[in-house]
Symmetry: C2
């Protein structure tokens, strides 16, 4: 089984869903077999791939509650080589239900152990904008975490809290957990603040920051309204090219790790 | 006591904090006495007004846990007429602690009853990006809710879930709760998707949508790095003018309700 990777950051609106869909789809375009899991009750990854949340009867909620195995919750997507475990409407209640559940932080890792994820070269998990039990379930179950960082002042602020939480989970639940890297999103080189934040992040985090960045590109926000990853909507646009470059960089970085 | 207003939307990064700070500060500039409460563990409202989260010893967490009264958690801000009840680092643990607490959904409304909010014409609450117990505490304690909506595809998706939750809280916890209005944020009239989303929202929600919109304006994202509301950073910029216009519209709308 290839690496299991969460895309996380408790700051809202920083490109977690856009990165989950388009990085997963880029790797599928590069002939990898990829599984994507929507762990956010908003269900944007599910809708962004053209699946109607209300019509999902077996999704990640049922997996977390032990009502079905991962294998029973697989959906096809418009992208060849990419399968999805969607969010259903019930996921909105999962957080409160998990607090008093047995092994509440390791329900997802338990589901992974019970299921042979063998067919996949990569598994991605889109996380909600919170350091809550859903995100902790993801951090406890994965090998690597990709942090999406919008080049804005508020986005920098939450980074320390996120890194502290990752260290905490590594110590208590998942000793293998490493930071895969930081992907800068919605970068606009005409905007001084964006340039300044990028410089500070690169100075502070060095080679943990992906060289390729994701520029602000309207095609990225149009594609989900058609239920398509961006390379199936407009492969020549800057957004699609950027995610393909980040996917290739991820493959190269693995080579040297 | 004037109206208590929450700024809410579980979708992340849609301008809740930016609207909480700048709408509250605009009303203070218009000679109202305003209290702002930071109910988001990220503490962006606290930082955006120049207060260091780590140095807060009595904030909204202590109020929710009954360790201190609202009056003990008041901080001054750079804006005359605007006081803040900040988020402290402990707020990150509040969600899990509240689940098993007595009267977990009405801790904030209880604190309001115990404290004479008399000195304030307006109270604003900045909510986290989730329909969790912190947001439910806000919805149970307020008179009105302002929904900030980014003109993007994903932002539309969460609106039904939010309206359903508001209806649920009105039925169970707070019969007075009304939607004050929808404020459109980060609007860019050169971008077709933004124009299209605005049109759809106005068709669907009619007069519930504020006439004045908040345009995308880099000064709005620069101001918090100086700990200032935008009208104290650059009063002539489009962002400052837009929030003053929305504040004035809020005053007019009250007149007719
Ligand atoms: N590079 C980009 N260029 C332009 N728009 C983008 C880009 N990346 C994301 N967006 C848009 O910005 C908004 C926020 O992105 P997205 O929803 O992926 O963030 P998120 O971190 O998953 O948000 P949440 O915290 O709510 O889960 C969306 O409307 C998305 O379409
Ligand atoms: N009108 C605007 N023009 C330009 N930038 C904006 C505007 N409004 C907000 N921003 C920036 O966009 C980002 C998201 O805004 P903000 O943090 O206020 O959203 P939020 O809904 O409070 O996010 P969260 O869900 O994480 O609490 C911030 O970096 C902010 O500075
Ligand atoms: Mg998302
Ligand atoms: Mg906020």
């Amino acid at each position: 089984l290839g690496p299991v990777i969460a895309v996380a950051n408790q700051k809202g609106g920083v490109g977690k869903t856009t990165t989950s869909i388009n990085l997963a789809a880029s790797l599928a375009t590069l002939d990898r077999r990829v599984l994507l899991i929507d762990l956010d009750p908003q269900g944007n990854t599910t809708t962004g791939l053209g699946i109607e949340k209300h019509q999902v009867d077996k999704g990640v909620y049922e997996v977390l509650m032990g009502d079905c195995a991962l294998a029973d919750a697989l959906y096809d997507t418009p992208c060849e080589g990419l399968s999805l475990i969607p969010a259903s409407m019930d996921l909105a209640g999962a957080e409160v239900e998990l607090v008093t559940a047995e092994g509440r932080e390791q329900r997802l890792s338990g589901a992974f152990e019970a299921y042979d994820l063998q067919p996949y070269d990569y598994v991605f998990i889109d996380c909600p904008p919170a350091l809550n039990l859903l995100t902790i379930n993801a951090l406890a179950a994965i090998d690597r975490v990709v942090i999406t960082l919008q080049t804005e002042f508020y986005a920098m602020e939450g980074l320390t809290q996120l890194m502290d939480t990752i260290r905490l989970i590594r110590g208590r639940l998942n000793p293998e957990l490493v930071v895969d890297g930081i992907v800068l999103t919605m970068v606009d080189h005409r905007n001084n603040l964006s340039v300044q934040v990028e410089q500070e992040v690169r100075e502070y985090f060095g080679s943990q920051v992906y060289e390729h960045v994701i520029p602000r590109n309207v095609k990225l926000s149009e594609a989900p309204s058609f239920g398509l990853p961006v390379m199936h909507y407009d492969v020549s646009c800057k957004g699609a090219q950027a995610y393909l470059a980040v996917a290739n960089e991820m493959l190269e970085r693995e080579h040297f790790h």
